[in-house]
Amino acid sequence: MATLEIPADMELVYKYPESLTEAHTHYCPGCTHGIIHRLIAEVIDELGVREQTIGIAPVGCSVLAYYYFNMDFAEAAHGRAPAMATGIKRVSPDKVVFTYQGDGDLAAIGTAEIIHAANRGELFTTIFVNNAIYGMTGGQMAPTTLAGQVTTSSPTGRDVKIAGWPIRMAELIGLLPGAAYVTRQAVLDVLGIRRTKKAIKLAFQTQLAGLGFSMVEILSTCNTNWHMGPVEAMEWAKEHMVAYYPLGDTKMTDEVRALTQMK
């Protein structure tokens, strides 16, 4: 990376995060994983915990996340990241541990693992990327696919009588006593991206303060498998996904709220 000389009378206000490697990602043009990776990296940099952080990658589009984050990383079996994170955190309580999971990983095959990890109040953070589709396998119906949404495995649109309803994980996990901070955000515009970063930071701070399980669900897009342009996908998600998956906190304990008031 080229280094820039900063003139003495100027301040560096934006730079490449130390918590990201310089690898080029494999994500499709227009994909929101890159934004979310960057937000996590910025937060870890700001908290100064890169050297004590251990991440767990899922099975899904972000399966190779360990190449992009400049920190220790494990790759989990499909859906099992919360169990792995539990194992890591329990034997390394001084480390900062997070899972990065998609909707198929977290809300279908790994439902038991995420619910029980949250319910035990495991002291790790989950970043849950909800784009309402299976991206890596080529656009099949996800547990979060909207009613009527066309995918390669719901070619006439998701029929809720057959496939059931899209699952609202932030609400479900917010109900559990072990969860300290659970929120749903969206990276569909600049304001949303800023709010998402704030939420990610609070989630990691919740972990660092030992307050309980923390999760940020992030509404995102898959323009490739939605067969849309990137901008169109953002608009579609704002119109349809946000309507079904309302943004905001589903759980914030008083102790977490107190963190937000600390300066």
């Binding site: 490697t21 890169r50 050297e51 004590q52 952080t53 251990i54 767990i56 990658a57 399966v63 190779l64 360990y66 190449y67 984050f69 400049n70 920190m71 220790d72 990383f73 494990a74 790759e75 989990a76 079996a77 099992r80 169990a83 792995m84 994170a85 539990t86 194992g87 890591i88 329990r90 034997v91 390394s92 001084d94 480390k95 038991a112 693992e113 029980h116």
Partner: protein, 354 residues
Amino acid sequence: MAKELLEGNAAIAEAAIRAGVEAFFGYPITPQTEVLEHFSKRLPELGRVFLQAESEVASINMVYGAACAGARVMTSSSSPGVSLMQEGFSYIACSEVPAVVTNIMRGGPGLGNVQPAQSDYFQAVKSAGHGDFHMIVLAPANVQEAIDLMVLAFDLAEKYRTIVMFVADGSIGQMMEPAELPPMRPVRPPEERPSWALTGAKGREHNIITSLYLGAENMERVNLRLQAKLKEIAANEVRWKEYDTEDADLLLVAFGTVGRVCQTVVREGREKGLKVGLLRPITLWPFPSTRLGELAEQVRGMLVVEMNAGQMLEDVRLAVEGRCPVHFYGRLGGVIPLPDEILPELEKLDEECH
């Protein structure tokens, strides 16, 4: 240390504790629940980690995580629970992290029952999970050996960075007999965890533990590395015990509980004038094939006795390569074959192999 009267399952757990296990993750299942119960009491009082997981799937993935973090870790289960863990075995084997799993086998298939059985031999030895790999498989025949092999299990797992399965059956798990526990080893402090482990990328490049290798040639390279390691294990770690084989012209082959029963058969057979010996494999993988091949040149015939429909039998036949007749006697579904049933089979072998 003096001998004490110990129950198999509790002795297994206590041996692991003495061997320095830092964490146990598991789920209750008969007939191994006492392993979990012993850990639930002892580990917290020693300041170590005990966690009852929501399933065997979660247990093995917690083990995988803790192993990635460089901790000495294990889980324990019984047949149906072990089936649920097989996904994790495959990931652990490919990622080359050390882990120990015990299977206190019970009657199957399906939910089966809770009687002692050996019907998971194929699963342990030949099909631990998807992909090309083997676990090291240790099979004790009594409580003392169970204790000794638990300690060995951790040493082998760490030496080869691999998964070690300890298979016993419900009768070893539930029986009480005098045995001696090893002295308490100190737990390895976190700062001494291995350099490959996920301990935070402080002053070094980031460590990645994965079992994903895209591209056929990439994955082939990983497989070749795993195969080379398995070859090394096969060359160095075969273990078995022989009883009265020096002059034997008939050989019993049996492992675990029924291996112990066959010691009585050897004695009774000798009393009847049969020159019978016993080979009891202790490592089921790697298998004592070379030694069995040598004995195939020495004896007139072999009788394999198992608490299954004839699973190790296949490995014995592969080792013997037709050099002598190999007979089989087995009981299924949790029935333990007794000397009174085995001895007539041995006499039949004697008559048929002149």
